[in-house]
Amino acid sequence: MLSVDGLTKRFGGFTAVNQVSFEVGEGEILGLIGPNGSGKSTTFNLIAGTLTPTAGSVRFQGREIGGLKPNLVCRAGIARTFQIPRPFTRLKLLENVALAAYYGAGERIGRSEAWSRAEDALALVQLPVDGETTIDGLGAAGLKKLELARALATRPRVLLADESLGGLDESEMDQAADMLEHIRRQRGITIVWVEHIMGVLMRVVDRCVVLDHGEVIAEGLPQVVASDRKVVEVYLGGDAGEVQAQVAARARSETGAGGTS
């Protein structure tokens, strides 16, 4: 679906992303993790077109999209959210989403079609609104949902979710993780999830790519990555026990449910 190959970004003498390669399969949830400053967000920006790669390629459904302008990447079918939600506060909530639906679709759609796609996306993230709802009343969790709805309204094939859980409490984090799983199940959307809170991510991702200092240091199934010596060393540190517990809990529940994954 999405394949990143030898992706490199230098800012002057500083290499933020160095020879990063990974594949994302259709319908997969891939966790892109790493400590702060490891190059996760830069990788994201390179895929979304906000930054232009210094070298390497990004292929989406077989087509090279590396270096395309963000509006074209969006129309090709890749949507993104921001770590810190950036809604248009002067617009009504539904307008925010409808605008994305109208311009972000790869095709020309009518006014009412955009409107219903917006309502559809808001229903998918379980954010009930009417035409008059403003942004003001939304809390951190609500803003995250709006951010997701805005990305989903463009009807993407791939969703790039940037640190969706920052600023949320534990139960909200669980809900948000379930939400991504729900979106994938309902729409078959492929998801790349950038996150530095690793524990909750481990519950829902199919595979992980771990970055450190702009390079991939580990890749694979959550249980494999979580017990990787290098990952534990550079990244998990004291949290290793907790993350491994999450992975173990998931393994138990999956065995209990008949191992459907």
């Binding site: 077109g49 969006c74 002067r90 617009l91 925010n96 311009y103 463009t154």
Partner: protein, 287 residues
């Protein structure tokens, strides 16, 4: 009972306010969306006034046809201004953006002097005054105010009710995020420039009925337009609208009690006082 002449001055202030509101609108929408100040805005109006003069007076076109053509031509001029002059310096320092549009101002003034000379020209149309009891109101002012208000209302509806208008409002708030929703900012900028130019063209049609056109006419409208915009909060459309009417009242009522020139003095003093009290403008947010 209120003095009949004071009432007349207040009514005239309202009429002037309508025109100032239109003048401010074009400059404000361009600044609000593109974040560039068209220093040469009033020179676009001058261009439109000369256009009307040539089409109607020299070529003998019907007045309304000349008006329509001028609005379109100045809109195109706005697009060219953005494409040729603003776009290359869009990411540059704000002072560079001021300087290039300032350069266009000088260029257009000089060009007008070369082509038309320095004499004052007018369409030679004089509309009779409207008599309301003992109050006399200039008909061309009433038309100007009426058309301005209709234009302001239409633009407001466009910005509120259409996706393109919504995108224009959105991009004025966060230009970085719009491309991620499939919007090409350059296209929105060109459309906004066309709207800004079109409004300058419309203002030219209304002003050419009341004022003679000459190469320095921009100095009559330019500074006051900037002051109205800044007083309302630069880029804030509603603020500019309110400020236009407040400003116009200062000019007309101040002019009534003293002399017309004093009206301007009061208005400018008020502006300076406002800048101490609310430097961000009436409805502007403090940066």
């Amino acid at each position: 009972m209120i003095d009949i002449f004071l009432l007349e001055a207040i009514l005239n202030g309202i009429l002037l306010g309508g025109v100032l509101a239109l003048l401010a609108l074009g400059l404000n929408i361009v600044f609000g969306v593109i974040d560039v100040v068209w220093i040469c805005y009033a020179e676009l109006i001058m261009f439109g006034m000369y256009g009307n003069y040539v089409l109607h007076k020299d070529l003998g076109w019907p007045l309304l046809l000349a008006f329509a053509v001028c609005v379109v031509v100045v809109a195109v001029l706005g697009v060219l201004l953005h494409w040729l002059v603003i776009r290359p310096v869009l990411g540059g320092a704000p002072i560079n953006q001021l300087l290039v549009t300032g350069g266009v101002l000088t260029f257009m003034q000089a060009l007008a002097t070369l082509v038309f000379g320095i004499e004052f020209r007018n369409l030679g149309i004089s509309m009779p005054s409207l008599e309301l009891g003992e109050i006399f109101l200039s008909q061309s002012r009433i038309w100007a105010c009426g058309v301005s208000l209709v234009a302001v209302a239409l633009l407001w509806l466009f910005l509120k009710k259409t996706y393109l208008g919504t995108a224009i409002r959105a991009i004025s708030q966060d230009r970085e995020i719009m491309p991620l929703m499939g919007v090409k900012p350059g296209r929105i900028y060109l459309i906004t420039s066309a709207i800004g130019g079109g409004l300058a063209g419309l203002a030219a049609c209304l002003l050419v009925l009341q004022y003679d056109v000459h190469p320095a006419i921009g100095l009559t409208f330019g500074p006051i337009t900037f002051m109205v915009c800044v007083m309302g909060g630069l880029g804030n459309l509603l603020g500019g609208f309110l400020a236009a009417f407040i400003f116009a009242q200062f000019i007309q009522v101040g002019g009534f009690y003293f002399e017309l020139e004093w009206g301007y003095v009061f208005a400018f003093c008020f502006f300076i006082a406002m800048m101490f009290w609310r430097p961000q403008g009436l409805l502007g947010k403090r940066a």
